[in-house]
Amino acid sequence: MPTPATRHSLGDQFQGILTAAQDGGEWAVATLYRWLHPAVVGYLRSRAGDDVEDLASETWLAVARGLPGFTGDETAFRSWVFTIAHRRLVDHHRAKSRRLRTRSLTPDDGEGSDRSEALAELAGTDDPAAEVVGAMAGDEAVRRIVALLPADQAEIVLLRVVAGLPVEEVAAVTGRRAGTVRVLQHRALRRLADRLERPVDEV
């Protein structure tokens, strides 16, 4: 029974598209790009700030350079793309950290500011659960996840939710064991529940 093409899957069409893309077919390259680019951007926007588009472009160019030599199925391709995106993000943060260390910092600079703002927004909500159920923009939800969770847990949650990777692929992308990923994601969900359902005066 053919696998239906969904938001996270090209189904049985994948191999044909991949072969055409490896031969330089523009339509196939465009299909792969449109298929995963939103997820790539969704993952990168969690920590890349204003550099999301630049990092996404770098990621896709790296994918294109390695595309002729790629072998694997759809899941492997998705994992490979997000591995490249993950490395680009790590490099971006290292460069950003070096820039920050070269100037005097205040406690509210950088990511700490984002985290404080996110917590302040949550604190000012009378009914956080009702708010998140509402029409929250995807980037806003990602920003809150990043603000509420430690970096390793947020990364895993976003790779699961935004990139749509299974546990094993998340483990491969992040260089962790699958069991470690399961533990971290479980802790992340419990932490989110604690934070989101905490009374306002406790935040």
């Binding site: 330089g24 998140v132 995807g138 935004v162 749509g164 994601q185 969900l189």
Partner: protein, 289 residues
């Protein structure tokens, strides 16, 4: 268990979360109303996060064009064969270098010991003599006795009074004594006399008692050789500990051996150790039991 979390200001969640529910929430497919108790907000947040941004068509066009160019460029220059080629080149270079080193070492050792075929040995000896290295030439038995390793040519002497020079305290030791001993060995063999005792006696100034009811013949001895050791060290066994003759004890330790029989390669100033053969130094021989 939860004490550290409480210490950090966290309230332990009162509800458990099973694996399946966690997995579905992380896929963004759980509505808050269907979430496990206490996780409604989490399910809503994750569902919202799973909503992906739309593709910017302007940026997409440029990126796709660049990707196509990159794919075609990468396809025209395959990376894997090139890497293999570099690797194989590197390995081939190392293998060739190793083979060259082994060949040179083996050839050098063979040339130094005179083991090369005569024509080759002759050519090699002539070639290296220009750079001050003396190696034996074919049919030039004992010829090197007149040469030193440092390239200084020593004229050989025809002085037959070898026995008189042996044992003299000549620190320079530059009298072609090895050649003399070699000549004595040749002469003894031609006369049908025992070579070992004769040579030993000549090398040790008569102190050597080789052939006089000795227990310890050299391990490689054929009855005509006497275990003699040239040099300053002690002889470490090999059946020649009972009777051994040491020659050249007070001379420079340029290792050279003089063998009995038809081939003698002795150089002067020998300090080497010959087992089962007669060894001579050009002077300062001393025999002890």
């Amino acid at each position: 268990m939860n004490r550290p979390a409480i210490a950090r200001g966290m309230r332990p969640n009162r509800h458990t979360l099973d694996e399946d529910s966690a997995s579905r929430m992380l896929q963004g497919t759980v509505h808050p109303d269907d979430a496990p108790p206490g996780y409604g907000s989490v399910a809503g947040l994750l569902a919202a996060a799973s909503v992906l941004p739309t593709v910017d068509e302007d940026a997409a066009t440029g990126t796709i064009s660049a990707m196509v160019e990159a794919v075609r460029g990468a396809a025209s220059t395959p990376q894997t064969p090139r890497r293999k080629s570099m690797l194989s080149k590197l390995l081939a270079g190392k293998a060739l270098a190793a083979i060259g080193v082994v060949a040179l070492t083996a050839s050098g050792a063979a040339a130094a010991t005179g083991s090369l075929p005569d024509p080759v040995q002759n050519v090699v000896a002539g070639a290296v003599s220009h750079v001050g290295i003396d190696i034996p030439q074919p049919g030039d038995e004992g010829h090197s006795a007149g040469h030193r390793q440092d390239g200084a040519h020593r004229p050989t002497t025809d002085d037959s009074s070898t026995s008189t020079t042996a044992g003299t305290d000549d620190s320079s030791g530059d009298h072609g004594h090895g050649q003399q001993i070699s000549d004595i060995a040749h002469q003894a063999k031609q006369d049908g006399q025992p070579v070992g005792p004769t040579v030993c006696a000549a090398a040790s100034d008569g102190k050597c008692q080789a052939g006089d009811d000795h227990k310890g013949q050299g391990s490689g001895g054929d009855g005509s050789t006497t275990s003699s050791t040239a040099g300053s060290g002690s002889n470490p066994g090999n059946g020649s500990q009972d009777h051994e003759s040491q020659a050249g004890a007070d001379h420079e330790a340029t290792s050279t051996t003089v063998t009995t029989g038809s081939q003698a390669t002795g150089e002067d100033h020998s300090g080497g150790r010959a087992e089962g053969s007669s060894t001579s130094g050009d002077s300062g021989s001393s025999g002890h039991h």
